[in-house]
Amino acid sequence: MDYLVTIAISIAIYTILAASYNLVLGYGGLSTVAHPIFFAVGAYTAGLLAVNYPESPAIANVVAGMAAAMVASVLLAASSLRVSGDYLLIASLGFQLGLLQLIKNLEFTGGPGGLSAIPSTIVGPMRGPAFLAICGLAAAACVFIIRAIVNGPYGRAISAMRDEELAFTALGRNAMSMKIVIFAIGCGMAGGAGGLYAYYFQYVSPDQFDVLASAAILTMVVLGGMGTVYGPVVGAILLLAIPQAITFLQLPPAIMAPMQGIIFTLLVLAFLFLRPAGIVGTKGRPI
């Protein structure tokens, strides 16, 4: 039971990550790989506050994690988008690797061993279900907010910007500030997810936020359908549920590990050829 609850909570948290990454990449057209680092900023901010100020309210610390991720993302976007859109890709990678290196080498973050003993705010038998409810609600809220953003007048502006940024700007639209706002919202959500993660698992380590995590989130987005509201949700569920389903087959570990790699690679390849728009994506023109 606990085991299933933990999987469900992971799915909720990764739904937030995939959905917000899709907002930034799929809708905003902002090429960044650094989404996990904002997840990390949120997780470490909330975790450190919880460890160092055990009396501080958990909600405030999660919000602080979100805010820290937003501030970091605005700094990154504002400085690199000024140079060019492509520069963001490079800058984000550098930012991710640099910050991870910093976390590994600082003492108060727990170094490479990670930050442990994050106090549990909720105790007792209902801890799991309570966290599941909170994370599930948070994921639903994120998907709902993203849906509101990409529909209506703002969504219209986003598609126009993605179609023809020059013409869009020449009509009086401030593409730069829109991109920074989209980036900040997406990264802020990742930061919030990080805060929830830190409180539930009570442990964060730098390795969880490396480029492999970037690849995992990207796979969720691509598999589910980039630029669709519900695609990343489907992607997150699939990518987290399939490995668990495989575990139920009770295969020996020596087969298990390569099996998962093979299945993912095949899945991604199959989708690239058969359904490049993803599971939720429509094949034709999105109108």
Partner: protein, 252 residues
């Protein structure tokens, strides 16, 4: 005639190519200025400099007497500089109506803050803009295309949509980059009529066009440009009969 745009000593080069060589220019309200010259003369670059896509190496640009050298592209649009593009740059995944709706100078929907805290205002602004868009489309006889994907329209109608989107700006200055290129038949007549109406409404219009009869029918004044220089500025009759133009443009 009220001066809308004044360009003084505009200078711009790309490496060895001079696209704007000491360009001086004024356009008044209600005037339609024809800008002609061979390919590569610097006509589009001049539009890019005026609208703020490019920064000049030297020189100044004044809109209604106000210097706008430091205003970025999007702010110049908000000041009322509206332009079209030689290759249209329509929003290709969107409908005709949505293409137009992104065009107004003030678009409350681009701010999350205004969307969240000023919903009523955003809604009424949207409704007003939809009304304006429909009336612009109706002037072009295109109101029934409002819900169509813009890429499904024939080329001439796409050109008209490019103009319609720009008209949503309601600006004082209209820069049209080869609006007639590839356009014929009914769309040609419509384009000509709408451009004339816009000037009659008091806008300053500058048209880059290779179609000499279009220039002759429409423009009060003409400028001939080659290699970034304005070689002649006068009435259209003078321009068309000019030896310089005939030699450089028609390659005689």
């Amino acid at each position: 005639m009220t001066e809308i745009l004044r360009v003084e000593g505009l200078q711009k080069r790309f490496g060895g190519i001079v696209v704007s060589d000491n360009v001086h220019l004024t356009i008044g309200a209600g005037e339609i200025l024809g800008l002609i010259g061979p390919n590569g003369a610097g006509k589009t670059s001049l539009f890019n400099l005026i609208s703020g896509v490019l920064r000049p190496d030297a020189g100044s640009i004044y809109l209604r007497g106000q210097k706008i050298d430091n205003a970025p592209l999007y702010k110049r649009a908000r000041m009322g500089i509206a332009r079209t593009w030689q290759n249209m740059l329509l929003f290709r995944t969107m409908t005709v109506m949505d293409n137009l709706l992104v065009g107004p100078r003030d678009y409350p929907g681009e701010s999350i803050v205004r969307l969240t805290f000023g919903r009523a205002h955003v809604r009424s602004a949207e409704a007003a803009m939809k009304g304006r868009a429909m009336s612009i489309l109706a002037r072009m006889g295109l109101e029934q295309t409002a819900g169509s994907a813009v890429v499904d329209l024939p080329f001439g109608q796409q050109k008209l949509i490019g103009l319609a989107r720009t008209l949503m700006n309601d600006g004082d200055l209209l820069l049209l980059d080869e609006p007639m290129a590839g356009v014929e038949g009914a769309a040609y007549e419509t384009m000509q009529r709408v451009v004339r109406q816009e000037a009659e409404a008091g806008r300053a219009v500058c048209v880059v066009e290779h179609n000499v009869s279009f220039i002759r029918d429409l423009c009060s004044r003409g400028i001939f440009m080659a290699q970034g220089k304005i070689l002649q500025d006068g009435t259209v009759e003078e321009l068309i009969s000019s030896a310089v133009l005939t030699e450089l443009y028609f390659g005689v």
